[in-house]
Subunit: 407 residues, 2 copies
């Protein structure tokens, strides 16, 4: 039997006004477990954010065909039998939403979360940015083969000087960056501070915003040869989107996605100190709304008679990326990721169902299975950024759910 | 002819991604004019905030009986004739909403603002806190005559040690505090930093949150003798509200007001670094929603058959406070304020109509005229905190609007 992890309230986090010092979740300590149990549903209370408005339109109510999937069992990556309930407990799930053929099948909330809760999505944010980049490319506003510096001359002299837009959105830039999730020091720590996600430490002499940070990254290796997961690539993509549209990413997401799909809740983006938004990890949204976006991709970008995304955008995402480049860059990822690829900030499983997914650290998932016509959203507060034990259960678990629903 | 002040966009503020350095509005410079032209509609983009949810209920659409009041003329405090249009231009208005008998009469937006914009309300926040304190008193959760330290023992040794709740909410505590709106140094600067409104300066050794700040204020003079406008009194009241309800003020406002009146927009509160909310100046809200709250007070706390506030709460606010104590504390305020009083964080004009009002620096107003059955909301971005020139026009102007509508 797998124990459900204690909730933020059970842990006493942020209980009392003010909470006692050892139970306070702050911008400094929000990633120290178990503080993320509270923080991931309260990011706007800890930092500056920009609204992603749903507009004034009616909510698109998801038709319901409820079924509790908790007891569905499957074989995890390590060979043990697991149920969906165990998967959710093991992976510190805060929510699970499952759609099949556009109908809401299962919806479970934990740790104080509910349908209105806006949850930190980490790098699932990237998949929205990649989708928008492809959409703007389909409209001729962005050329995937153009150089990044054609749009952002501020990056002359950086790693992106001779990189194309596609190198950035496919994570194949050759760049000196160590994506190790240590927010105490190193590349990710500098990124966290510059992006507004982390406070500026006393005596800090490093970059204080994304405009200062991004030009500092230098080239290492060649572009286009190898998958190399580097979050600042997404910041560059977000910058390009803002430059060509004249609007911050939050507004572009609002106009083109959030106000188009009958979303239930406004969402928001984390923002740095000069108005640049954290395109690599800044999205906070409600579970059902994320599922609606997944459903849009199952419908080839069409939503109730309106073409919200060009069909070729969805086709590109569904097609996946360069599997050889991916293999070259993921030799240490483990067997679960074999045969996968990456394209436009989406992970592609190339499994029997051709499922693809947005993935965020600490257990954020937007999983889309076009064969089974299933969308799975899981939002979590896993104690650590990387979570191989949870991946080992969730990835087979999502496939099992899809197979079960497909019948 | 009075010139309409340039908009944030015309000033180039936050235009471009990122905006050029001299056009960037940041948490550091947001109060330096003209930066507040942009900042007051974008506070959540600059700092940590807590949502005040409107819930999922239907919007209470304000019935409309539209009339443009722009050309209505009246005599300002200095004897000049002014029109409402001139009043709005002179006072850097971002919005004006006028209700009469619950109907929307006039609604004007400037400087990029619209019905969905959430505007910084400064000390109009206090009037919500005062109303809630009275409501909780009417329910027996707070005793106005009890000592502050009966609720907040953390304040033993401070100015509030022998002050009652009523001393705090009526601004008659004897306390050493200089409410001069210099956010660079002095009492207000320390408050701004501790409340989360201002960033922590490099090398700062002062209080970093409201829990650290408030106990540091010391007694000076006697309680209950004189009106002395000291914003930390409201922080103490907010702390008491949170302590007795077990909920932050944002949630109490949501449950008891925002979700009860068919508000159109969520609102939000500025929040410090440990979860204490800026009860003295942290509310951001849409103009129409503020007007709905004013209308609730005209209706003795009743809203569509439901008693949202106890009638005695509204009666207390309508009755005003101690005019002699007010006179003793406002000898330098000027003739416009003669005969006024202050009660439960509301200003009372004691004019011919017994109008009362919430007032915030830089031109925020929630003006309620029970004789004319008129509510006037004005949100502004006046260049300076104190604005005697604008007060001199707005206060007579609001009365003129009320008289005109009463007929």
């Amino acid at each position: 039997m797998v124990q459900t992890p204690p909730t933020a309230a059970e842990l006493g986090l942020m209980q009392g006004y003010p909470a006692p010092p050892d139970k306070r979740v702050t911008q400094e300590n929000l990633l120290d477990p178990p503080n993320n149990r509270w923080a991931f549903q309260h990011m706007r209370e800890l930092m500056a954010t920009a609204e992603i408005s749903r507009g004034n339109g009616p909510v698109h109510a998801l038709p319901e065909r409820r079924r509790d999937l908790s007891d569905l069992s499957f074989t995890a990556g390590d060979g043990t039998r697991r149920t969906v309930a165990e998967m959710l407990a093991l992976s510190y799930a805060d929510s699970l939403v499952v759609l099949h053929n556009g109908e809401l099948i299962d919806e479970q909330y934990f740790n104080g979360m509910g349908p209105a809760s806006q949850h930190q999505m980490m790098s699932v944010t990237k998949s929205f940015v990649g989708t928008l980049a492809l959409q703007l490319a389909s409209e001729g506003l962005i050329d995937e083969d153009a150089l990044v510096i054609d749009y952002i001359p501020e990056l002359v002299g950086s790693a992106w000087q001779d990189a194309t837009v596609r190198h950035a959105i496919d994570m194949s830039t050759g760049i000196r960056f160590d994506e190790v999730y240590d927010f105490g020091e190193g590349d990710v720590a500098r990124y966290g501070i510059a992006s507004g996600f982390r406070p500026i430490p006393e005596g800090w002499s490093g970059p204080r915003n994304l405009e200062e940070l991004l030009p500092q990254f230098l080239k290492e290796g060649n572009h286009g040869e190898m998958f190399h997961y580097v979050t600042p690539n997404t910041e560059v993509a977000g910058w390009i989107i803002a430059r060509v549209t004249g609007k911050p990413v939050s507004q572009v997401i609002s106009e083109r996605i959030w106000s188009q799909l009958g979303m239930e809740r406004d969402a928001y983006m984390i923002r740095d100190r000069i108005g640049m938004e954290m395109a690599g990890a800044g999205l906070n949204a409600a579970a059902r709304d994320l599922a609606r976006f997944g459903q849009l991709l199952l419908q080839d970008g069409e939503w109730h008679g309106q073409q919200v995304l060009a069909p070729e955008v969805v086709a590109t995402i569904r097609g996946g990326g360069d599997r050889e480049a991916f293999a070259r860059g993921t030799t240490e990822y483990g067997p679960l990721w074999e045969g996968w690829s990456y394209r436009a900030f989406w992970w592609h499983t190339h499994n029997a169902h051709n499922a693809f997914t947005g993935i965020g650290i600490n257990g954020q998932w937007l999983y889309v299975d076009p064969t089974a016509q299933v969308v799975i959203v899981q939002q979590s507060s896993y104690p650590t950024a990387d979570q191989p034990d949870a991946d080992d259960v969730c990835i087979p678990g999502f496939h099992a759910i899809a197979k079960e629903l497909m019948g």
